[in-house]
C-alpha cells in the first residue's frame, strides 16, 4: 500500500510537471503571437490552443495540489478540537470529497462521449474538445485515489489528519 501511495504521489507530480510545461508553452505561444502580429503574421488558432493548454494546466495540477494540501480551507475551528473529533471530521469530509470527485470523474467521461458523438470541434483548427474532458476525468480519478489513500492512512492510524505526504522526485520541476 505504501509503495502504491508513493507511486500515485509521484504520478501526480509528473502530471504537475506536464501542467507546468503547458503553462510555459502557453506563455511562449502567446508571446510569439503578439510579436508576429506586429508583422501582420499572427499564429493561427492561438486563442484555441491557449484555451486547450489552459485546461491542461488547471486539470493536470489538481492531483498535485491535493497532495500538497494546496486547496484553501478554513482550519480554524477544527484545529482546536480533540484529536478524535478531528479524525472523525477528516474522514467524513474526505468521504464527501471522494464522492464529489467520483461524480466528476464519471460525468466528465459521459460529457466527453456526448461531445465525441456530436463531433464538436474548435472553429479555426477544428480540434476536438472531448480529449480535454477525458484528461480532466483522469485527473479527477487520481484525486479520488489520493483522497482515498489519505482516508485509509488516517483510518489505520498510520498518519495524522491533514498530514502532508513527502513526494519523491517532484516530477522534474524541483
Amino acid at each position: 500500500m505504501a509503495a502504491f501511495g508513493k507511486g500515485i504521489h509521484r504520478f501526480s507530480s509528473i502530471l504537475n510537471w506536464v501542467a507546468g510545461s503547458c503553462l510555459i508553452g502557453m506563455t511562449g505561444l502567446t508571446c510569439t503571437d503578439v510579436v508576429l502580429r506586429l508583422f501582420r503574421h499572427p499564429v493561427l488558432g492561438t486563442y484555441e490552443i491557449v484555451g486547450f493548454l489552459g485546461t491542461a494546466v488547471a486539470s493536470l495540477a489538481v492531483a498535485y495540489t491535493t497532495v500538497k494540501r494546496g486547496h484553501v480551507s478554513v482550519p480554524l475551528f477544527v484545529m482546536r478540537m480533540p484529536h478524535r473529533v478531528q479524525v472523525i471530521i477528516h474522514q467524513i469530509t474526505h468521504f464527501l470529497s471522494i464522492v464529489l470527485f467520483g461524480f466528476l470523474t464519471v460525468e466528465c467521461i459521459r460529457y466527453g462521449n456526448d461531445l465525441k458523438v456530436s463531433g464538436e470541434t474548435s472553429l479555426t483548427l477544428t480540434l476536438p474538445f472531448y480529449p480535454l474532458l477525458y484528461g480532466m476525468s483522469l485527473s479527477f480519478f487520481i484525486v479520488c485515489i489520493i483522497l482515498w489513500l489519505d482516508f485509509w492512512n488516517v483510518l489505520r492510524g498510520r498518519e495524522k489528519p491533514w498530514y502532508e505526504p513527502k513526494v519523491t522526485g517532484e516530477g522534474g520541476w524541483k
Binding site: Y64, G70, V72, S73, K174
Partner: protein, 433 residues
Amino acid sequence: MSPTVIGLVGLVILVIVLFSRMPVGFVMALVGFAGFTYMVSMDTALRVLAKDFYSMFSSYNMTVVPLFILMGQITFHAGISRRLFDTAYKIFDYLPGGLAIATVGACAGFAAICGSTNASVATMTTVALPEMRRYKYGTSLSTGSIVAGGSLGILIPPSVIFIIYGIATEQSIGKLFAAGILPGILLSFFFCVTIFIWARLRPEVAPRGRKTTFKEKVFALSGITETLLLFLLVMGGLFLGFFTPTEAGAIGVGGAIILGLVRRRLTWGGFSQAVTESTKVSCMILVIVSGAIMFGHFLAITRVPFVAANWIGGLPLPNYAIMAVIVVIYLIGGCFMDALAMILLTIPILFPLVTAMGYDPIWFGVIIVLVAEMGAMTPPVGINVYVLSGIASDIPLESIFKGALPFVLSVLTCVALLIAFPQIALLLPNLMK
C-alpha cells in the same frame, strides 16, 4: 419547502461545512450539487457540475490567472523586490520610521508587478525584517508594516482578485486594474502616514537608521528600473488596448524572465519553483471558482439572490447605509474566510443589489478588494500574518496582529473616502477607451 427556503438552508449548510476544514472549492461544488439535485434532478445536477468545471478550466479568459501568477512568482524569485527595498530605504531613510516606510514603498512597487499578497509579505519578511531588527525597530511596527504593505498586492494591478471579480461579474479587467491604481497609491500614503505618526508618538520603536547622501539617493533610483519597465510594458499595453489581459500576462512572464536572466538573478531552481507554485496556486483558484459557479447556479434556481437583493433594496435605509452594512459583512466574513472564496460566494447575492442601487460595478470591485485586504491582516484568519509568522517563527502571532491594527484603520479610512468620493477609483477607468 419553497425554493427560497431551500436556498437559505443550502447557505447555512455551506457555512457549517466550510468550517470543517474541507477545501472551500470542494464545499461549494458539493453543496451546490446536492442542492441542485434536490431542486431539479441528479442527472441535470451531474451535467451542470461537469459543465461548470469544464467551462472554467477550458475558458480562454481564465488563462490570465496562471500567467499573472507566474509573472509574480518569477519576479519574486528574480529578487526584484530586494532591489526595490534597497531603493526605498535610501530614499526614505531621513523620515521617522524610515525603514518601515521603505518597506511599504517597496511593497507598493512590488505590487505593481505581482498580484499576490503572500509573495510580497514573504519577500519583505526576509529582506526588510532583519534590517528593522538590526536598527532595533519595535516588533509590532516592523511586522505590522510588512503585513499591511503586502496587502497592497491585490489592490495595485495586476491583481488576481480583480481578475476573478472581473470574470465573475463580466467587467473589464483592464478597467478594474486601472481603478486600483489611485486607491493603491492613496492607501500606500495612508500606511506611510500611520508609520510616521506611530514613530513620532513612540520614537523608541523606530530609531533613526544611517543617513544617505543626495548622490546615493539619486543612484539608488536605478533599483526601480526593472519594476518600472515591466509595469509600463504590461499595464501600458493593456491600458492602450495593444494586449488582451491574457496577452499582457504572457508578455509580463516573458519580460520577467528576460529581466531575471539579464540581471543573472533567476536560477533554474528559482524558475522551476516559480512554475510549480504557479500551477498549484492557479489550480487552487480555478477549483474555488468552479465550485463557486456551481453553487451560484444552485442559488440562482432558488432565486435567493433576487429575493435578498429586493429585500435589502427595499429597506428604509439610505444607499450609503446599505453599503456600510455590506462593508461590515465583508469585514466580518474576511476574518474567517479566504478573500477570494468570500468574494465569489457573496457576488451572486450582493452584486445585483449594488448595481441596482446605482453604484458603479468597477468602483464596487475596488471596495471589496480593499475590504478583502483587511481580512488578510485581521485575526483569526489573516493570511499575511500567518505567512510572516511562518518565516519569522520567533515572533508571537499576537504581536503581529497588534501591529497590523493601526493599518486596518488606514484601510477603513480609505474605504470611507472611496464611498464619499468614488471618482478616486473611477478617474483612470473613465479615461480608458
